[in-house]
Every structure is written in structure tokens, then in C-alpha cells.
Symmetry: C2
Subunit: 369 residues, 2 copies
């Protein structure tokens, strides 16, 4: 038996995702494949569903990983719950809100948007005024906007949405696993995420959850679904073992199970606290280097830091220096923030004091180079 001939470089993934993966998760990926009808597969899937409920902070029975990336999770939310001809409200303050808008339009919905500059968030008053005026059937917001670094308070949106009986979709792609998303306590009806950010697993699965209230709404849906692969009713039957749909991958599932298990062992509250502490240390260090954070204090995503690029500095050069000299990946801004911010992930195995110091040393060097 010959050995693997592929030899990827070892990166330190300080970008917005994919992020660093623990050795035990890598080991799990290479464990023997079982079929999607094997009793062991159902055992692992059951465990993953239980552990996902834990990190989502929900009792929703409908909680499972979609066989695709975070964007497939977003499309599952929009395609199933936003009907043609309905009104869909999007809180628009970054790139992924624009994607939600695009998907809503493709479904034939009337999309209304409340706009804010990239990096700002919405207050309860702003949300209430907008939702009372528009009275949409569904509203969507991005909990942690990867493109800007801003963290939205979910309750600012869900309270007003509940008042007008709108379903709320939350994008928790960057927040899940590193932040307390508290789906049930926050009154979120539908949420999706990805495996490769706060959950510290490679990409390939999109954790998804929907409340009983959302499923009741889905049962009353009038329009036929165009999508087949992301049809939630077919997926529910499949994950409940009733009817074949697609061949889910045991390999990626093993990886996700292992990373969720690692989170459970650390304890979710400890993990959330660890991310906040190291985020604060990183911000202090960045400010000591003369950098200014793009997002106001109190509205920052702990696991995705967005300092502004100092005047006169070419952000692409800094990123290339970090990658070439230190094997460190970070990301730049895009859209209205292109060239204006760095996007620095500090999550999972990298969220600790020595990685903060290592990173600060490297970026100091890169900025001076």
C-alpha cells in the first residue's frame, strides 16, 4: 500500500475560515468509512445532532448537518421558508446580507432591506421601526458578519419580529461554536452555520436548525419547492431514517463529531470565555501597534478581528509577507472595505496566549517590512 503523495504546507490559519483543526479531528477524518445505512452511521449522526443542539443552544428536534458548505445552509433557510410573492426583510450591513438578498430575490420574494454601513449593527428601535413598517413574513440577519467583524445582538431583531409574527433566520456561520448563539433563548426560528469556523473542523457540512414554529409554517407552505437537494421536508425524512435522499459522508461527519466532542469536553461557556479573553488580548496588542479596530467596542466578533489597514500600507503585501515568511493566513477586506481592513480569525486551537503573541510578533514585522 503506497503512502499518500499529497503534501500540503502547514499553515497557521488566522483567517476568517477555514480555521485551525485539532489533531484529533484530522485523525477522525481518516477513520474507516461506513455506509449511510450502517447502524454505526445512525449512532454517530444521533450524537452529532445532540451535540449540535448543545452548541446551538436549542431543543429543536430539526437540527442536523446539511451535506454542503455554509452557503448550502443559507440556501436551505431561504429556499424553504421564503416563498414566492412573500415579503422578506434583510438587515443589510455586509456581504452575506447581500447574498441573503440575492437568494430571496431568486425565490421570487419581495426583498426589503434596512441598510447600515459595513461594520455597524442594528438597535432594537431601528429594527422595530423597520419591521413594523414593512411587516414581512420572514426576516433575516447575520449574527457575526465575516466581511466586517460586527456582531449583531439577536434580541434587537427577534423581539420586534415576534410582535409581527415574522419568522427570523439567523446566519451563525462565523459565530457558532465560538460564541453563545442561544437559538431558543434569543427567539431565533431558523439558523445555519458551517463546520470550518467556530467549530474548528474542515469545511463540508452546514449545521442547521429550525424551530417547531418554523416547521408548522413550512407545513402550510403554498408554493412548490424548486430545489430538491436542499428541500427540508425531504431532508427531515432522510435524517429521521424514513426515506433515502442522498449519500451523506461518514468521513466529514466523523470530523464534525470529534470537534463537537472536543467542545463539549472543554465546556461551551469556558470556550466562549476563552475566545473573549484572547480577543481582548489581541485587540490590546493591535492597538499597541498603532492599529485602530474597524468595529466599535462592544459590537466586535471575538473570533474575527478587523483592524483597519494603516494609511500608506498595502494590505496585500502584508498578507503575502505573513504567508510566505510565517505560513500565516489572514484575509483582507472586500466590497466597500477592500484594502481598508485586515480580517484576523482567532478561534479554536489558535485562541490562546501564545498564538496571540506569535501573531502580534509576526504582524508587527510584516507592517514594518
Amino acid at each position: 500500500m503506497s503512502a499518500a503523495s499529497i503534501q500540503p504546507p502547514k499553515r497557521l490559519l488566522f483567517g476568517p475560515g477555514p480555521t485551525q483543526v485539532e489533531a484529533r479531528v484530522y485523525e477522525a477524518l481518516g477513520k474507516p468509512v461506513v455506509g449511510h445505512l450502517d447502524p454505526y452511521y445512525f449512532e454517530v449522526m444521533g450524537e452529532v445532532r445532540r451535540l449540535l443542539r448543545h452548541v446551538f443552544g436549542t431543543a429543536n428536534e430539526c437540527t442536523f448537518p446539511i451535506s454542503g458548505t455554509g452557503s448550502a445552509g443559507m440556501e436551505t433557510a431561504v429556499a424553504n421558508f421564503v416563498e414566492p410573492g412573500s415579503k422578506f426583510a434583510v438587515f443589510a450591513n455586509g456581504f452575506f446580507c447581500d447574498r441573503l438578498t440575492e437568494m430571496g430575490k431568486r425565490q421570487g420574494a419581495q426583498v426589503v432591506r434596512l441598510e447600515k454601513p459595513w461594520g455597524e449593527t442594528f438597535t432594537a428601535d431601528e429594527a422595530a421601526e423597520f419591521l413594523r413598517r414593512e411587516r414581512p413574513q420572514v426576516a433575516a440577519f447575520v449574527h457575526a458578519e465575516t466581511s466586517t467583524g460586527a456582531l449583531q445582538d439577536p434580541k434587537a431583531i427577534t423581539s420586534a419580529a415576534r410582535e409581527i409574527d415574522a419568522l427570523v433566520i439567523a446566519d451563525t456561520v462565523t459565530s457558532l461554536g465560538a460564541n453563545a448563539v442561544n437559538i431558543d433563548e434569543n427567539g431565533i426560528d431558523i439558523a445555519y452555520s458551517c463546520s470550518q469556523k467556530g467549530l474548528s473542523c474542515p469545511p463540508g457540512l452546514a449545521p442547521f436548525t429550525a424551530s417547531a414554529r418554523a416547521l408548522e409554517r413550512l407545513a402550510r407552505r403554498q408554493s412548490p419547492m424548486v430545489e430538491w437537494y436542499l428541500d427540508l421536508r425531504l431532508l427531515l425524512d432522510y435524517y429521521d431514517g424514513k426515506k433515502y435522499h442522498h449519500t451523506a459522508s461518514s468521513s466529514i461527519l466523523y470530523g464534525l463529531r470529534e470537534s463537537l466532542k472536543s467542545i463539549e469536553e472543554e465546556g461551551l461557556p469556558n470556550r466562549v470565555e476563552r475566545h473573549i479573553e484572547n480577543h481582548l488580548a489581541l485587540v490590546l496588542g493591535l492597538e499597541a501597534l498603532g492599529l485602530t479596530m474597524h468595529v466599535k467596542e462592544g459590537q466586535r466578533i471575538p473570533n474575527l478581528n478587523t483592524p483597519q489597514v494603516p494609511a500608506g500600507v498595502d494590505d496585500a503585501k502584508v498578507r503575502k509577507y505573513l504567508l510566505d515568511r510565517h505560513g500565516i493566513e489572514i484575509a483582507g477586506g472586500f466590497g466597500p472595505l477592500a484594502g481598508r481592513i485586515f480580517r484576523i480569525g482567532l478561534m479554536g486551537p489558535l485562541s490562546n496566549e501564545s498564538c496571540v503573541n506569535l501573531f502580534l510578533g509576526a504582524i508587527e514585522e510584516a507592517l514594518a517590512a
Copy 2:
């Protein structure tokens, strides 16, 4: 760093898929993740695209893995190329033809079907008569029908389709990697597959290819696309490095690259020949046990064998015995073939003399138990 706590059983995957995975592929899955914008990611993706062209037997520039399972590949083919209001012809002789039908209807197409019993295939005359009469814009057939074990001659369908200028979609989910699919020589316009059957990789990616002729047709498409995740025009821009779409998984890509590399090293013609030889040996052995093959000689899929369940035998009991006593997974029939056939995969690392003998010994025991 703690070790992985997940300990899956070691199965011998003699089912229709997922199938046995080589050690080098497992090893590749656990190699360090890189970002989807890392120069190394593009290098591996370029190599995978080249190797996929090789196994598909095509020069199509548009050849890449979709971030989903084989069913996502099917939906990419149907959603992009079958327009609302158009006529879509399906050669219907098994389960996956019914799925193509369902997806075509969801797209708003008029679906016309030529029906045959499960396990039979279509002749050139039958196909020509049907296509000349119906004159569809797109026709679809399943090359290797996993639900029945029947292998369709592609040219029987593509010749007549070309005559009426219809695009042809081929489902190569079970055939790719273990059979010569010869996309270009066979005149197939669009094909999709999965990673976990003839390619001997875990599930998670759907190899996809489309001809220049198909892409010209797509460029003239009148109706807007509802699907976003599987929108081929967005995917083309993404895989050509022009515009971000989703975060493709380097881990699964490493696995696919490794299995494709293994196929290249063996040589595709050698691999195809190996699958035929061991298939013939297995069939001889099954017939010596008194079993009758469901599909006529000359129309059988070499890597998926479907003997009939002997009268008086409970197929579920046989399958349970094989799994419990030997860790061997095979599948039963479903739909009109439920309880009537076994579905026995013989592919990749299991397609060799000793595995044929091991399997024959185990099933002889199971049938007698």
C-alpha cells in the same frame, strides 16, 4: 493533544457505495487544511480538474467537483440545463431516472419518459423512435443504474439526440472511475458523478463536466435560475478564480486528488479491465452457488452485481448475517426490486481475486444459515 475518541467498525464495503477506501486516501484526508484562496489550494484543484478530465474521457474545460454529493451533481445538471416550459426526455428504467424526472418537473419542464422494466436497457432504435417523436431540448439517461445493475450503451441514446440537436445528460454516478465513460467519444454533453463509488473516495464531492456546446446553450438560457448554490455560471467563475462563491473543502479535495492519482498510476484501461475480470469471476461464483443474475449478460455493470434473491430466502436476513458475522456490507433491492435482488459492489481496492473468493465464501455461508 488528545486522540480521536471515535472508533468506527471496520467494514468491508461490498455495497453500491460508499465503497472501500485505500489507506493513502484516508491519510490524505487528514493532511493540513489550507484556505480556499491559498496558492496550494489552486494547485490541488488544478490537478483534480486535470485528473477528472482523464477519468471522464473529456477535454471539457468545465470539469470540476461540486461541493455536495452525487445528487447535488444531478441537480446541477437538471437545474442549469432544463428550463421551465422546455421538454425534457428521460430514459426511465430505474430509481435514479425517477429522480431525474422529479427534478425536471420541479424546474417546470414538460417531462416525457420512455419506460422499461427495472434492469433492462434501451436500444438505439427505441431511443431514436422516442427522441424523433418527442423532440426534447434535453434528454437524460443513467449510464449505470445503481438500483438495478444495468449498464446503458451511451451511443444508443446520443446518436439520435444529436440528430434532433438535444443536449444529453448522463448520470455516471456508479460508472465513473471503474468503467470507461468516454464522455467526448460518446457524445455526452453533461455528466455528473460522485466520489464514493468507482472513484474509491469517501462521499462529499460530485465530479461534474459540461461541453462547450452545453455552455453555449446555457449562455442563451432565458429563464432566471432559482438555485444559487448549484448555479453553474457562478461555479464557473469561482473555479476559474474570478469570484468567491462558497468555501470548498481542501480536506475532501485532498482525498479525491489522492484517489484520482491512484487511478492514474494504475492506468485507467488497466483499472477498467480489472473490474471486468473480477466481475466475471464473481458472476461465475454466484452462478455456481445457484444464483441467477437479474440483468442480461452484456448489459451488466461490472462494479455493481445484482443476483436475484433465491426463492424462499429473506434478503434482509442474509444482509444482516453478512454484516454481523463478517463486517460485510451489501445492499438489497428497492422499489419494484425490493426483496428480489442483492446489490453487490465490487470496486476499487475490493476488485481482486482474494476479495471475490472471500465474498463468495461469506455469501455461501449466509445463504445456508
